[in-house]
């Protein structure tokens, strides 16, 4: 059947199972938008293309499927860059579709022309320009395979306008993907495998480090089986949160810069680390020279380039987490680690007394309380999408996630402005789920324009702004490392409640701890979007904290007492 390139594009997306596209139209992508209007695809008009990529990212993270973002050439495409990099660093399968000027004028600095494949080369898993209508279907099908296979990542496909306008024969079978035949490496080296088994079966103080790879591989069940059989406690990376229930006694909690003290201490004291689907990011290891010096390391990882990148390991099992665990399981002996577990419990008890939840009510509103209450009220069942900064760390510490994909957050790139659009994407992916965007007053102002998208699409998400009047995390660094010289961190914000109402969204301000639960409850009982402005303690800090470059056990702890009283009424 003869179709235009634009029609082929929409038809291919439909056949690939795409239902939602987050995008923003413009000259070079107009033919596709015209065809979109005739297709069954649901296009969500964003307010900024960065939002489109975050939404597609949030969509992908909430379901494990692929998110699709669309933009025009030039500025439309360059606005996507931050979102693409965010997806790249967190291995999120996002397909970005951009329009491009006609192939006849490519390279001539035509209006809204930019070399977007050149720009995004280092931040995409793959990108390609398509300038023939005949190639559209095959290339898109390949893009979807690349985005999802192995270690997932973003793929950008740039379609010239003439390719969209030209006509071509469309035959689904004739345009099968034709990806290069790559070498299949023998990743299952028997000696490495045997070594890993021996280490696992002889370790006395082992800790499992669980990362997002487990979720990407869909190996949550296998992983749980692995934990039960081996009886080894689990520490989570920020992005691994949810792959193993937080309420499980074997789950220690988050590790790293703002990880729980007992987790970091346990890692430093361990004699074996089993890293599953994580990449020893610097936020997780601290100073590499002092990182887990007494521990041997087993690394289960799908991406061979991650092996021995930051941390030298004793046994590397390259491959899909689920498959590797399946191979390991029959060889693992059930062992008793009770004294090791008891030791960790002791460490935990020591930390509990410092926990802000245990401190007497000082009449001030702390972000940690807000998030802990949010967890209680939602029974831990909401999808929480966070931005980046202090509130993100408090979320990771005080909202206990029992389900996979219930925490969506920008880890690797740490992109402020991520939460609101990603929450919109997550809501489209899981329309029945309760979605909360937890966001700081700084990050919210970066993408707050997407409030209009919420209203236009009539979706029901709840927004909790943790408003402390500062760029809190940066302020915290200035407090600790720059003698409290708060340069460029005090932040003037609009009246968020009034702002919400300008968009037609109900907003409420919360200033005391007593109002928190009731306000959250009332927000949950409406089918409308609600924005809550929590005016929290201004100069609170996230504890514990491992200063950048310090050893993992070298943590700054929350001062016992007296409680830091720096409150100024908001």
């Amino acid at each position: 059947m003869k179709m235009t390139g634009a029609e082929i594009l929409c038809e291919t997306l439909t056949r690939l199972g795409v239902r939602h596209i987050f995008g923003y139209p413009g000259g070079a992508i107009l033919p596709v938008y015209d065809a979109l209007g005739k297709s069954k695809l649901h296009h969500i008009l964003v307010r900024h293309e960065q939002g489109a990529t975050h939404m597609a990212d949030g969509y992908a993270r909430a379901t494990g499927g692929i998110g699709v973002a669309m933009a025009t050439s030039g500025p439309g495409a360059t606005n996507m860059v931050t979102g693409i990099a965010t997806a790249m660093l967190d291995s999120s399968p996002v397909v970005c579709i951009t329009g491009q000027v006609s192939s006849k004028v490519l390279g001539s600095d035509a209006f809204q022309e930019v070399d977007i494949t050149g720009i995004t080369m280092p931040i995409t898993k793959y990108n390609v320009v398509v300038n023939r209508a005949e190639d559209i279907a095959r290339t898109l099908r390949e893009a979807f395979i690349i985005a999802k296979s192995g270690r997932p990542g973003p793929v950008l496909v740039d379609f010239t306008k003439d390719a969209q306008q030209a006509s071509a024969e469309f035959d689904w079978d004739a345009c099968a993907p034709n990806l290069p035949v790559k070498r299949i490496r023998n990743n299952h080296k028997q000696d490495e495998f045997d070594r890993a088994v021996e280490l696992l079966n002889t370790a006395k103080r082992p800790v499992i480090l669980a990362g997002r790879g487990i979720m990407l591989s869909g190996a949550m069940r296998k992983f749980e089986e692995f934990v039960r059989t081996s009886n080894i406690p689990v520490a989570m990376t920020l992005l691994g949160i949810g792959c193993f229930p937080a309420s499980d006694p074997m789950n220690l909690g988050m590790m790293g810069m703002h990880g729980e003290a007992w987790v970091n201490t346990a890692i430093q004291e361990a004699d074996l680390l089993i890293a599953v689907g994580m990449r020893f990011d610097d936020r997780v290891t601290g100073d590499l020279r002092t990182y887990a010096r007494n521990a041997r390391k087993i690394h289960i990882e799908v991406d061979r380039a991650e092996i021995n990148k930051n941390v030298q390991v004793d046994a590397a099992l390259v491959g899909d987490a689920g498959e590797t665990l399946t191979r390991l399981l029959p060889h693992i002996h059930e062992r008793d680690h009770s004294s090791w577990l008891a030791h960790i419990k002791e460490l935990k008890g020591d930390s509990a007394v410092r926990d802000i939840q245990s401190l007497p009510d000082s009449g001030h509103l702390y972000a940690a309380h807000v998030i802990n209450d949010l967890w209680k009220v939602t029974k831990g069942e909401a999808i929480v999408v966070t931005d980046v900064g202090q509130h993100q760390m408090w979320e990771a510490q005080y909202y206990h996630h029992d389900r996979p994909r219930s925490l969506i957050t920008s880890g690797g790139l740490g992109t402020m402005g991520f939460a609101l659009p990603a929450a919109i994407g997550a809501k489209f992916a899981r329309p029945d789920a309760e979605v909360w965007a937890v966001v700081g007053d700084g990050g919210f102002q970066m993408t707050s324009c997407e409030l209009a998208t919420i209203v236009q699409e009539k979706i029901n998400i709840k927004i909790a702004i943790i408003n402390n009047g500062y760029l809190g995390m940066v302020r915290q660094w200035q407090e600790f490392f720059y003698d409290k010289r708060y340069v460029a961190t005090p932040l003037v914000a609009p009246d968020f409640v009034a702002l919400a109402s300008a968009f037609g969204i109900r907003g409420e301000r919360v200033t005391s701890r007593a109002e928190v639960v009731s306000t959250i409850e009332s927000a949950r009982h409406t089918e409308q979007p609600v924005l809550l402005d929590f005016r929290v303690e201004q100069e609170d800090s996230v504890y514990p904290m491992v200063p950048a470059g310090a050893a993992l056990h070298d943590m700054i702890r929350r001062p016992n007492s007296p409680l830091v009283e720096t409150a100024t009424e908001p």
């Binding site: 494949t117 050149g118 080369m121 280092p122 898993k125 793959y126 690349i146 990806l179 290069p180 035949v181 790559k182 070498r183 299949i184 490496r185 070594r195 021996e198 280490l199 079966n201 002889t202 370790a203 006395k204 004699d271 590499l288 020279r289 887990a292 010096r293 007494n294 521990a295 041997r296 390391k297 991406d303 061979r304 380039a305 092996i307 021995n308 990148k309 941390v311 030298q312 390991v313 004793d314 046994a315």
Partner: protein, 216 residues
């Protein structure tokens, strides 16, 4: 790699008394030795299409590895090109480069063949100034290096030489006193010897692919 090798039979004791306390046994705990940088040779088969060279170059830039020499040429299969990449880096850098290269969608295979038994060749054209007087002497030297004179002009001549980098550098050293006016070098191509085949994946299997490095 160097470190894990220590976990041989001698280190096989994690079950016994506090093996973890012997830091020397723990690969991950070995002081990351400052391994000397050396010339690493990586051979890669890549899709023969636009942009691939850019991706490879972009990757080395990101890893902060300086390419000493990069040659690309067609293979018997016109859809596939073969690259030989030489860079001065340590073992870790080389491992990362190799693994990251193979991660690129367009790269079908990348193998570090530095420690394989292999042949390396470089080709150079060297224009040397030569007058009536020193020409015979010059010709004599060129003969010793098994190089060829491919062009003669009244004031100069062009020498063509192929061989290992050392050989070409050696000739260059000898020619320098005469005055090297211009030089063009191709960069290195490399191939493993004998049965150690490195063929593009999916190539007609004439012989089994045996990517077995000699265990040294």
């Amino acid at each position: 790699m160097l470190c894990s090798a220590r976990f041989g039979p001698a280190g096989r004791a994690p079950g016994e008394k506090k093996a973890w306390q012997r830091p020397g046994l723990i690969a991950s705990n070995c002081k990351i030795k400052k391994i000397e940088d050396r010339m690493q040779t990586i051979v890669a088969y890549v899709e023969n299409k636009p942009g691939v060279l850019n991706r490879v170059a972009s990757l080395t830039r990101r890893l902060a590895i300086n390419i000493d020499s990069l040659t690309v040429g067609p293979t018997e299969n016109e859809a596939i090109a073969r690259m030989t990449l030489c860079a001065h880096t340590d073992e870790r850098g080389a491992t990362r480069l190799e693994a990251s290269l193979e991660k690129l969608v367009d790269v079908l295979l990348a193998e570090n063949i530095t420690d394989h038994s292999m042949l390396e060749r470089d080709l150079a054209l060297i224009k040397v100034s030569a007058d009536q007087q020193n020409r015979p002497h010059l010709m004599e030297l060129i003969k010793v290096f098994r190089a060829r004179v491919v062009d003669v002009a009244p004031e100069s001549l062009i020498v063509e030489v192929s061989g290992t980098v050392d050989k070409i550098d050696g000739l260059l050293e000898v020619l320098r006193p005469f005055g090297v006016l211009e030089m063009a070098r191709t960069g290195r191509i490399a191939m493993t010897r004998g049965n150690d085949l490195l063929r593009p994946p999916g190539a007609a299997e004439a012989a089994p692919v045996v990517p077995a490095p000699s265990a040294k």
